[in-house]
């Protein structure tokens, strides 16, 4: 099963714009979750998602997160692939002995209670772990067949080599942050950006590989997780947890911002970078979690 989730703020209060809590609601119940930042990537990821979701080693639902309004309601130019290539990439879905049909008399999803629920959850755990490999295979085949190579499927590193400060985010916030990186790099600042695509399964190894040894990691959360450790956002908390295993743990900052679709411009991103660069210079973080731009 594949669901395209146009992330918007959860009521109440009503708001049209993006907040990632919409998709994060299902983060712990067996959904694979992937964030995209262009219409082309949304389309490509949809094809990839079907491949992954229907793979017998996985068979878990995939949620593709698009930023509400910014991505779901804006016009983009994108290429539609020919049907023949799609058919080559996506084999027919074969339910095998799980087909619900009079020719196959089965009972699906019975009541299990404490007798079996642990074992069934463990199967989902295995499937989720398998998904890492299946996702890699799918992107490799996708590049071969469609000629569009996304590189590392799980994350998109942007000018992170030799960076002192790396900002991390998901979805369309990548656009202003990349612009800020270019402008700051032009001034000689060693900054970079890491976009997380797959949040479930979480790219633990990649996070450690790219962020271990960086001076300051600044996570932009377009979500909240009230009462979480250090009262940070969901992405911040997970990255912090992954980096516990890093050889050189970086300092960490968290910007909660852009909620309900409030814009994060490249100037905002530059501001955030400057705060992180300041922390890098001082070798300490004064305020760990910053609600960016909040009116108090």
């Amino acid at each position: 099963m594949v669901a395209l989730i146009g992330n918007r703020a959860l009521d109440d209060p009503g708001a049209y714009g993006v907040e990632h809590n919409d998709a994060l609601m299902v983060r712990d119940v067996g959904w694979l979750l992937v964030w995209v930042d262009t219409a082309q990537e949304a389309l490509d990821t949809t094809l990839i998602a079907y491949r992954v979701a229907e793979d017998p080693r996985v068979m878990l639902p995939v949620g593709i997160s698009m930023d509400g309004a910014f991505l779901t309601h804006s016009e983009h130019v994108f290429k539609i692939p020919p049907k023949s290539k799609v058919q080559k990439f996506l084999p027919p879905y074969d339910l095998g002995n799980r087909k619900l049909h009079p020719s196959n008399v089965i009972s699906v999803a019975p009541q299990v209670n404490e007798d079996w629920v642990t074992e069934l959850r463990k199967q989902m755990d295995e499937a989720m772990k398998n998904a890492r490999k299946v996702i890699e295979e799918a992107y490799r085949d996708f590049a071969k067949i469609f000629g569009r190579d996304y590189g590392n499927p799980f994350i998109e590193p942007y000018m992170v080599e030799d960076a002192d400060v790396v900002m991390v985010g998901m979805g369309t916030v990548s656009k202003p942050i990349k612009e800020a990186v270019r402008r700051l790099r032009a001034k000689g600042e060693r900054v970079g950006f890491l976009r997380i695509r797959w949040f479930r399964p979480f790219p633990t190894e990649d996070i450690i590989r790219y962020l271990s040894g960086v001076k300051v990691v600044a996570v932009v959360d377009r979500d909240y997780s009230f009462g979480s450790p250090f009262d940070g956002g969901a992405v911040f908390t997970e990255i912090r947890s992954a980096l516990y295993e890093a050889e050189h743990r970086p300092l960490m900052m968290n910007f909660i911002g852009g909620l309900g679709g409030r814009e994060i411009s490249y100037n905002d991103a530059i501001n955030m970078f400057n705060m992180a660069l300041d922390a890098a210079r001082k070798g300490m973080v004064e305020q760990r979690v910053i609600w960016y731009g909040v009116r108090e």
């Binding site: 619900l100 009079p102 019975p110 007798d115």
Partner: protein, 334 residues
């Protein structure tokens, strides 16, 4: 009649026509559970070319415990309020796969089964939405044991006036907690969805009537709806050996009118038709109510009130059992 299929007229017919069990041993419902009897007859009437979708409730939890199943038909669980969407999705998928040649083109019955909470309360909007999907063929069966039984007998909108449930106990301050009158669900489905070609009420205590209604619903095509009233020994408070008797009394007292609406034509059936024609007299509701401990706290006045309401339905409603508008109203103008 717009459909011509073989119907059962006598018990002998029924036994001959419906020999194979498709809802069989292996379930854990209470002794005397009439909802289980309903499923047994529905499965028999539907036959092997059927897919069953069951919402959460007693008829899920008690019938399909992992590693066992009472179903000799393909069966799948759906969420408490999911029946409407699940039947539409299943019927639409079958249609699409058949049209694409991916499944042999044949008639497959799709039956969604939901309790009164799952259907009339939590799942009402989905069921209503499903009944507008006239492109697809399916039957939604609401088995009504008049409570949220699986979770230990809580009140639903289908719990009858005055009945004790764990949410509507009787106390010193408030003797009658369930003061809300039961919803007229089959009628609501029929009147609210004029394109639906078959809607009926039924009861397990009248298996010929039930069996025939299921057959008609599955034969006529499009979305269809059947509402059964199912005596539940645990929730209603009576010895399981009287389940059938209580069911019969529900009809004989006129509390539960048996009817069908086929292509817009309304007809009382079986015992209810005989009551309407004067062939038999309605029994006092007291005979039904006094047999169940859930009504034990009702005073004679309470019972009179219920009797008045039932009398009103039979004598004053525009159509008894269906349209609760009074004949005295200036509509329709003579």
């Amino acid at each position: 009649m717009t459909i011509s299929i073989k119907l059962a007229r006598t018990v002998k017919d029924l036994l001959q026509m419906a020999q194979t069990e498709y809802f069989d041993a292996g379930h854990r419902t209470c002794q005397g559970c009439e909802s289980a009897m309903v499923l047994r007859w529905v499965a028999k009437a539907a036959g092997p070319n059927t897919i069953v979708i069951g919402a959460t409730g007693c008829m899920y939890v008690a019938n399909t415990t992992y590693y066992t199943t009472a179903w000799a038909l393909p069966w799948i669980h759906t969420q408490l309020s999911g029946t409407g969407s699940a039947v539409v999705g299943t019927a639409a998928a079958l249609k699409a796969l058949m049209e694409k040649g991916k499944l042999p083109n044949e008639k497959i019955n799709v039956i969604g089964i939901c309790g009164d909470l799952g259907c009339a309360d939590a799942g009402l909007s989905e069921v209503s939405n499903a009944l507008t999907h006239t492109k697809y063929n399916f039957l939604i069966l609401m088995y009504d044991n008049e409570s949220s039984a699986n979770t230990d007998i809580q009140e639903t909108t289908m719990t009858p006036y005055g009945a004790l449930t764990t949410f509507s106990p009787s106390g010193k301050q408030v003797r009658i907690m369930k003061y809300r009158w039961k919803k007229n669900m089959a009628a609501m489905m029929a009147v609210g969805h004029p394109e639906v070609r078959y809607v009926a009420t039924a009861i397990a205590a009248d298996p010929i009537d039930l069996y025939n209604k299921v057959r008609k619903a599955l034969e006529i095509g499009g979305p269809t709806f059947i509402h059964t009233l199912d005596p539940c020994p645990k929730g209603w408070g009576f010895d399981p050996k009287y389940s059938h008797e209580i069911g019969k009394l529900a009809v004989e007292t006129g509390i539960w009118p048996l009817f069908e609406i086929e292509d817009g034509k309304f007809k009382l059936t079986s015992t209810s038709a005989r009551i309407a024609s004067g062939e038999i007299k309605r029994k006092p509701v007291k005979e039904y109510l006094r047999r169940q401990t859930r009504f034990k706290h009702l005073t004679d006045e309470d019972i009179e009130y219920i009797q008045r309401k039932v009398d009103e339905m039979w004598e004053k409603w525009l159509i008894p059992g269906l349209i609760p508008l009074m004949k005295e109203l200036p509509y329709p103008e003579q």
